[in-house]
Amino acid sequence: MRGPALGFLLAISLGACQEKLTSPGGCPELCPSDNLVIEDVVLDALLDSTFTGFLGAGEGSRLLLANGLGGEELISVVRFARRSDSITVRDTARVFEIDSVLLTVNVEGRDPAATGLAVEVYRLPATVAVDAGTTYDQVAAELLPERLLRTVPVPDDLTSGALRVVFTGAELGAIAFAPEDDNVLRLAYRLVAPAPTGLLLASSAAGATGPGFITFTRVALADTTVRQPLPRIVQFQTSLDATPAGTPSPDLLTVGGAPSSRAILRFALPPRIRDSAEIIRATLQLVPVAPFTGMPGDSALLDTRGVFSDLGAKSPRISSSDALIVKQRLVPGSSDTLFVEVTPIVRLWATDPAPPSALFLALDPEAASFTLAQFGSSRTPEARPTLRITYALPYPFEVQ
């Protein structure tokens, strides 16, 4: 008898290892839904403003070319580092002969519908410094036929990739340095196309895909010839606008442009939500005051983040997790109201310690896109930004 009894005990003990308590919750009698109260509130933005000057033209990851896109004329200029007169071979500085020169740029974006594009590569004289003081007019005046190094066609099916110009033999004369150049190459890129459009080129901020200038050298030694490339890095680059945008309107929230603009929006979270509610959805509503400018195919995103502390333009943005960075595509030409789901960010406002209840808007990529967005602010009643928060109140667990 002892054996069966112990077996029965063991079976029961094994069965006891798992529990399954679930019962069907029939509505409305045993339905939790009836007691969980969900409400929502629409908050108006307070003390919202635009700050400009975070990234200047050319400091972003792309250089911009445009021939009338949105009424804008944009050319880009690049100054490369000085090329030395000699290279070191076998521990000895030696004078080299130039075998060939390679100039490159990388296309990063274009209007896929635009055809017949080409990039004109001009060599700028030493009289154009190519620095922060260089203006569009200064450069445009030097874009003369005799300074045109090459017109590089952009294949119609090329959406991204390199454009190369190689100079060899007699062509090298066009790229040879005069004494006043001090061995510094200054280039300007201009877009030509049968219809107004734009082109995005990788800048040196994008890494190895930025504008390139490589001299392939040849050094004759007693018993051999050494061939060695001599690349030069970009020392300065920028995109120049024939009609630069002025200071953004203080009554609007502006995002994008170059120098780039960002906007901050502050909200007063009601104590009822901050103290005891659980935020389940937060939607930022932004009303554009004009269609978004930009180029089809230029994928710019509205980057929305919270801030660690509210220091105005210098507020450090919360970037500790991808979940806390909300990005939403801006479609050029669209003027539809933008609804941005910012739930993960706003949920932080009800934590302890809570960051400021503010949202910082920027464009991604910054200073590297044709896109510019202008939204109404708290000072434009017909296009006021709002934050709609949906929240659950504490469940009355004691009520059954």
């Binding site: 679930t22 069907p24 009698e29 939790p32 659980e278 959805r281 659950a392 004691e398």
Partner: protein, 384 residues
């Protein structure tokens, strides 16, 4: 004495909460009521509980104990719950009754400590429904889970004199629920909701009882219990004072022959005292509850009655906390049980025993609420 202390420690360290079985009818009010009965008693549907020293119903029953005894109850519950067309099966294991007690040598006194499940609030509800949010119906999946309940610690003493056996007990009522609500939205734009809370309870009560044998065949007993109010705290704040019931009842045992005993009991609990307080909390209130049972114990050997007996019985009860206000929940059960005794010494005293019970219950209430369950009980008895 060292063995006694060791046993007490082992029993105290046993895992799990001390609670009765889980049920969908334990969601309302203070939960599903426990029975404070040993497995030996459950085998006969509780018909002999008024005279069972391992049960916590009648404190006077402690005088039935011939030696210091510790008993421990394990209850395995397999159930199927149904609401209308929705059904779900579940299982769980509980430890609803621990009792330690026995006579004081050389006196007519007996003492006992027991720990019983007063109510059980272990449940998990799952529901899918549509909720309007931002003016649009959104499908939501809710899970409401609770673990815990109210426990009853009884310190009791009993005395036998002149054929009467009387007893009294002091009850300390304590317990807590850890409750959690989870909601997931079909529209993933909404973040899931998870809320947790702890509801704790505290109260006290007093019970008194008596039993007497009339001749060799008839034994009659009765008890009354008065409980005060249970303080209900949510997290750290007081939310309510809920009156606990006044209980009274009686039982009898008829020994038709040395090997055959027939018994029955009736127990009334005035839970309606809690009605107003529970309704004030937004609940469905409480109703008075009765528990009626009848059973038989057939022994193989009258000198060793607890070894391989056959017990069976039937039971009818109403539950105090309605799913829908005013709609009484009814429970019917039939049970079967037996037991084994081991480690008999030269004096014929068994130092260990195992009791087994199998009970089938049917529960129901208007509104399409139905539940059936198999309850398997294992009772372990040790006499150090």
């Amino acid at each position: 004495m060292r063995r006694v202390l060791m046993l007490a420690l082992v029993l105290a360290a046993a895992p799990g909460a001390l609670m009765a079985q889980s049920s969908q009818f334990g969601i309302r009010g203070l939960g599903f009521p426990g029975r404070s009965t040993s497995v030996q008693g459950m085998g006969a549907a509780g018909a002999f509980s008024f005279f069972d020293p391992a049960s916590s119903i009648n404190p006077a029953a402690l005088t039935q104990s011939r030696a210091f005894t510790a008993s421990y109850t394990i209850l395995q519950n397999y159930r199927s719950s149904r609401i209308g067309d929705l059904s779900e099966s579940g299982r769980d294991t509980r430890f609803p009754q621990v009792a330690i007690g026995g006579p004081v040598r050389g006196t007519r006194l007996a003492f006992g400590v027991s720990f019983s499940g007063l109510t059980d609030r272990d449940f998990e509800l799952a529901a899918t429904t549509m909720v309007p949010i931002r003016g649009v119906p959104v499908e939501v999946h809710d899970t409401l889970a609770s673990t815990g309940g109210l426990s009853d610690l009884r310190l009791a003493a009993a005395y036998a004199a002149g054929g009467w056996n009387v007893g009294a007990g002091v009850h300390v009522i304590t317990g807590s629920n850890r409750v959690q609500l989870s909601r997931v939205f079909a529209d993933t734009a909404y973040a899931p909701v998870t809320q947790r809370s702890e509801i704790s309870y505290a109260g006290a009560g007093f019970s008194a009882g008596a039993w007497r044998a009339f001749g060799d065949r008839l034994t009659v007993g009765g008890m009354v219990r008065i409980d005060g109010e249970a303080s209900v705290d949510r997290d750290s704040g007081r939310v309510a004072e809920v009156p606990l019931p006044l209980s009274f009842g009686g039982g009898l045992q008829w020994r038709a022959s040395p090997r055959l005993a027939v018994g029955g009991q009736a127990l009334f609990r005035k839970w309606s005292r809690a009605d107003e307080a529970l309704r004030a909390l937004g609940g469905t209130g409480a109703l008075d509850a009765i528990d009626l049972s009848a059973g038989v114990e057939l022994t193989r050997n009258a000198r060793r009655a607890q070894h391989r007996p056959i017990r069976f019985g039937a039971r009818f009860a109403t539950l105090p906390f309605p799913v829908e206000s005013g709609e009484r929940v009814r429970e019917v059960g039939v049970s079967l049980g037996t037991g084994l005794r081991f480690a008999q010494d030269r004096a014929g005293v068994d130092h260990a025993g195992v009791d087994l019970s199998l009970e089938r219950v049917w529960r129901g209430a208007r509104g399409g609420f139905r539940e059936t369950a198999w309850l398997i009980g294992i009772g372990i008895t040790v006499r150090p």
